[in-house]
């Protein structure tokens, strides 16, 4: 029983990371219809940012969070501006294109940082944990959970309260009408890429707390993140949150009972079964929405 309860923070933290990654995917899909296969490499970029910054100051890890957001965000913006926007309305082409970009970025990381994994040393205050009612709560896992909650709240405030977020929702709901309302839709698209990629970068920093950093870091998470997007209903914050929770727990517990690869297979089966029942994902809304 105790061991089972101890999986709780692990499952939650997996869910938290998946959610941070899935948000960007679900936004770019909901708004532009783009499936970005290179999204995983923004996670990697965030993780390497933490690696590069470590040791500079005592608070390098905390500083790495916003820096990774900017680094990964700018990479996403650059990708959108230089390539993806020329392929809007051609989903298969973007799929292949971004897949190619993903491979190139992984090779680039191998050239710069070397093929072997590197390690980011967690700051002292994130080492260890606390026991609460017999449940072990590791500080690093708790930090990831809090970080994700803050990011989701931030995204929610952005979407519902700020002018930029309002513009984003307008473009998602009716792109043509957004143009007639004077909104520069191309600029909004670029900003969505910045936001989504930036969050993936933050997820990358978080991942350095629980594992090594390597050129293929992104590929480990990207498939699960896509599953979250599909199961959650495309282009939605609420659905993504619930799907990430479900998937995170499923992953965490199944891994505990069986092993990692069998767990993946079982999760896959569970999602396919779920989509048989609800092909539209968790929520169905009339028209598209983000919140």
């Amino acid at each position: 029983m105790g061991a089972l309860a101890n999986q709780l923070p692990i499952g939650l933290s997996i869910a938290a990371v998946l959610l941070l990654i899935a948000l960007g995917l679900t936004f770019t899909f909901g708004q532009m219809g783009v499936i970005n296969m290179a999204h995983g490499e923004f996670i990697m970029a965030g993780a390497y940012t933490a690696y590069l910054l470590q040791g500079f100051t005592s608070q390098s890890f905390l500083i790495a969070l916003p820096v990774a957001f900017v680094v990964a965000g700018l990479m996403g913006l650059l990708l959108e501006w230089s390539l993806i926007r020329r392929f809007y309305g051609r989903p298969l082409d973007t799929l292949l294109l971004t897949w190619g970009v993903s491979l190139v970025l992984q090779q680039l990381a191998r050239d710069i940082f070397g093929a072997p994994n590197v390690q980011v040393t967690a700051p002292g205050w994130l080492v260890g944990g606390v026991d609460l009612l017999g449940v072990r709560l590791p500080y690093n896992r708790m930090f990831i959970i809090v970080l994700a909650v803050l990011c989701v709240v931030g995204v929610w405030v952005y979407l519902t309260k700020l002018p930029q977020g309002r513009r984003m929702r307008a473009v998602v709901q009716n792109r043509e009408l957004a143009g007639y309302s004077g909104i520069a839709t191309g600029r909004v698209d670029r900003f969505t890429f910045l936001l989504g990629s930036g969050l993936a970068g933050v997820a990358g920093v978080a991942l350095t707390l629980v594992g090594p950093v390597g050129p293929s870091l992104g590929t480990f998470y990207i498939v699960d993140a896509f599953l979250v997007v599909v199961a959650g209903g495309l282009g939605q914050l609420r659905g993504a949150v619930l799907a990430a929770l479900a998937l995170g727990f499923l992953n965490g517990y199944l891994e505990f009972w069986t092993d990692a690869s069998l767990a993946k297979v079982l999760v896959f089966v569970a999602i396919i079964a779920f989509l048989q029942v609800r092909p539209q994902g968790m929520f169905v809304l009339k028209g598209r929405t983000l919140v």
Partner: protein, 231 residues
Amino acid sequence: MLSVSEVDAAYGRARVLFGVGLEVPAGSLVCVMGRNGVGKTTLLKTVMGTLTPTAGRITLDGQDITRMPTHQRVRAGMAYVPQGHVSFPQLTVWENLQVTLEATAHRDPSAVDEALDVFPALKEFFKRPAGFLSGGQRQQLAIARALITRPRLLLLDEPTEGIQPSVIDEIENAIERLHREAGLTVLLVEQYLDFALRLADSFVVMDAGEVVHAGAVEELHNEEVRRMLAV
């Protein structure tokens, strides 16, 4: 003010407009008429930049806007109320207005008040998602959104089509006031002859993607012209 000359436009490979020409002098109200599917909406969308003409030229006050992005046309003083009373369905009425105001160059909040003076009923629904409004209310919202941009040229695509009769009068009167009293230049797509007769200075009749007749509004009494409009 607006001048369209020899414009061809297409959806992908399906050509819809063939050498369309049109003049909208400043201060006038020009009515585009024609049967269903002849290309009236396509013409307005091309004027707004949703479709790029494959040939021809569009100018606004002498400035070539043929390839200008839509949002810049809005900043240049053009506003478009699309056919079918569309809105951002999951944004509230207030958000629908606000998001438009935030995209204007002037950002003057009193523009919202001015628009609401035209359709005061909208204030009651401020917190409601626009998707929950009736067609007539959504159309009022759509016109209010257009007014917030403080246009010099207003494009209206069948503004009273499919709207409950009680609201039709309200919308027609609002358009009349905006044109007569505020001096707004209007390009109107309209199938109702009565409304066109009451308001228009001149009209064009389209058929199969071409302008087949253009003239002063008095000619609308002409039998031959009426035959072109008959469904």
